[in-house]
Amino acid sequence: MTIESKERFAPGHRACIGCGEALAVRMACKVLGDNVIIVNATGCMEIVSSQLPYTSWTVPWIHTLFENTAAVASGIEAGLKVLSRKGIRDTSNTKVVAMGGDGATLDIGLQALSGALERRHNFMYICFDNEAYMNTGIQRSSATPYGASTTTSPAGKTSIGQFTWKKNLPAIAAAHDIPYVATACPSHYKDLANKVKKAMEVNGPAYIQILSPCPTGWRCPTDNAIEVGRLAVQTGMFPLYEVENGKYKLTYNPESLKPVTDYLKAQGRFRHLSETEMGKIQEKVNLEWAKLKDLAK
């Protein structure tokens, strides 16, 4: 597949230096093309791209609130459908694409997302997952991995940081029996592009969760977003797979995974973890990887 040089997410936005999420948005937009309407949840990408009177968007784009993005997308999809049916406006092949961070998706917007998936609107939802509420200053979400220190799950004398395991939203999305679910990471761009393309082509809801490394919140060097993302994939912390009509398929399936310590030690948010705690994370990754491989058999 060829990648267009044309940008839809224009430069000049105000993302932090080295932002993996802005990169992921830019990559996804290259595949989405011009015939889209983007619905953006409140969050980093909305804030950095849309300060009145400026915009970074060359495609139609709307932001309303934090938790309602999938519902707004539902209305847009329904509106386009009826306007087309009544011959009021040609809306053929216009894809509705909702975008939100992990807080907007896994936490506050989960109900609206579930409703939209269940109703089978023809739209794509991309979760740009940087594993915490970065926009408001690195607070934990249900996508924050076990052991990560954030401003609301700080590591301390009586705390190992985040004490819960990352919520498995791709599995929840797949449980809605929708045509397409995938995970992706900008470190594996071709894979990401292929998945966005597939999601464009299905008729019905598609959900993609893109791990979007955040040097600011993950406490790693600003030129490391891609490298850290790659380690997340290679260690199995964030496996790449897709679920097409219920069928799981690993799209990155190495003989063996790298040790999770390679990933954890590359980031300040995990630096307080003891060998024992890191061992616990390794065990969990091994377990989840085995489950995933079994699903993908």
Binding site: I37, Q51, T64, N68, A70, S74, G75, K81
Partner: protein, 392 residues
């Protein structure tokens, strides 16, 4: 020709939405509004209304889906009540601030706790300040007519604001009334297709819903205020055109037997017709009393309110909502605010009553008026009084 039909008012509102040819309805069931969305679902299911019906999972999503469909230029309707309006509260602000011409019927209902599915105006008063045009209807005919007018007003290029049509839960929503329905052809002539000027469209991309830094926010809000205030001209224009076409004229305020009166009784919504019975009786007994009703709640019709009330000595306001620990009755408070600048103005006496579905009878209205006149003369040790409460 229009035909007269007996119909439940909720069903009639849905029929008006059908005649308005709404494109998208996103709705969630809640008592006492449910009959409206049930009937719309049925009309769509039977192919009588060519629309997309989105059975959302909450009122928050109902209004959110309305934002989306309205933003692509689809004619959009929803309905709610009570808790539903509260749940969609933050989205309601966005609809007006983004200038999306959504029409919503609200079957006014009390708010929890304690849970009450019955009618009052608590839900309305919680959305006083949201920047929607708000019309209170008194009976089924007003509900039908103003549902049609609401689309026309909302989508007018000079307005582009969402409109709420308030009808009292149960007391009005569940009444069967004789109603006149216009012909479809006449409705089509009155209500042209929606032509939203800035739809989300890949052929002409727009960015909607930017955030505003402090240097912009104040200007955005001021522009919105001017827009809401000025919408009154268009509302009057649309009501005039509706009247010319269908013979029923609407005004921001109404009076009943208010000529030469020294006491005015004020109500909003369906209780007005009950109050009229009390007014008739008191007039017959020689009391110089009239009824004053606000139909256009937002934008607030200052001019008409002042004109109507300025010569009365006493204005007795019955509020069906209570602003706890504050002004008591919100409508009474707004009346005091509106009348205060006048050199000659009536004393405003506030009562709260009819909460959570409790009836107020014609005899009750007489009691309220008599007590109101007494308070105006002798004063009260309370800022407002609550009517009909059992304190033991």
């Amino acid at each position: 020709m229009a035909k007269r039909t007996g119909m439940e008012v909720s069903i009639a509102v849905s029929e008006a939405v059908k005649m308005a040819k709404a494109d998208v309805i996103a709705a969630y069931p809640i008592t006492p509004q449910t009959h409206i969305v049930e009937h719309l679902a049925e009309l769509v299911a039977q192919g009588e209304l060519d629309a997309e019906y989105i059975p959302v999972e909450s009122e928050h999503s109902a209004m959110s889906a309305c934002l989306g469909s309205s933003a692509v230029g689809a004619r959009t309707f929803t309905a709610t009540a009570g808790q539903g309006l509260e749940l969609m509260h933050e989205v309601v602000y966005v609809a007006s601030s983004m200038r999306l011409p959504i029409v919503m019927a609200v079957a006014n209902r009390a708010l929890s706790a304690p849970l009450s599915v019955w009618g009052d105006h608590s839900d309305v008063m919680a959305v006083r300040d949201v920047g929607w045009i708000q019309i209170f209807v008194e009976n089924g005919q007003e509900a039908v007519d103003n549902t049609l007018c609401a689309f026309r007003i909302a989508e007018d290029r000079r307005v582009l604001l969402p409109v709420m049509v308030h009808l009292d839960g149960f007391h009005l929503s569940h009444m069967v009334e004789p109603l006149l329905f216009p012909d479809q052809k006449e409705v089509d002539e009155f209500l042209p297709p929606n032509n939203y000027p800035y739809p989300l469209n890949p052929n002409k991309p727009v960015t909607m819903g930017d955030f505003a830094p402090p240097v912009v926010y104040t200007e955005a809000k001021w522009a919105q205020e001017i827009n809401v205030e000025k919408s009154k001209d268009t509302i009057l224009d649309v009501w005039k055109q509706f009247g010319d076409k269908f013979g029923r004229y609407y005004k921001p305020v109404e009076t009943y037997r208010a000529e030469d009166c020294d006491t005015l009784l004020m109500t909003m919504g369906s209780f007005s017709e009950t109050a009229m019975m009390a007014i008739d009786k008191m007039r017959e007994a020689g009391k110089k009393i009239g009824l004053f009703r606000i139909r256009l709640w937002r934008p607030f019709p200052y001019e008409e309110v002042r004109q109507t009330a300025k010569n009365a000595q006493t204005l007795i306001v019955l509020d069906r909502a209570i602003s706890l620990g504050g002004v008591g009755g919100p409508v009474a408070s707004e009346m005091r605010n509106a009348l205060y600048p006048l050199a000659q103005r009536p004393k405003v006496v506030g009562f709260v009553g009819g909460l959570g579905g409790r009836d107020i009878s014609p005899a009750d209205f007489e009691t309220i008026v008599n007590r109101g006149i007494e308070i105006a003369k002798k004063g009260s040790d309370r800022e407002f009084e609550i009517f009909g409460v059992r304190e033991e």
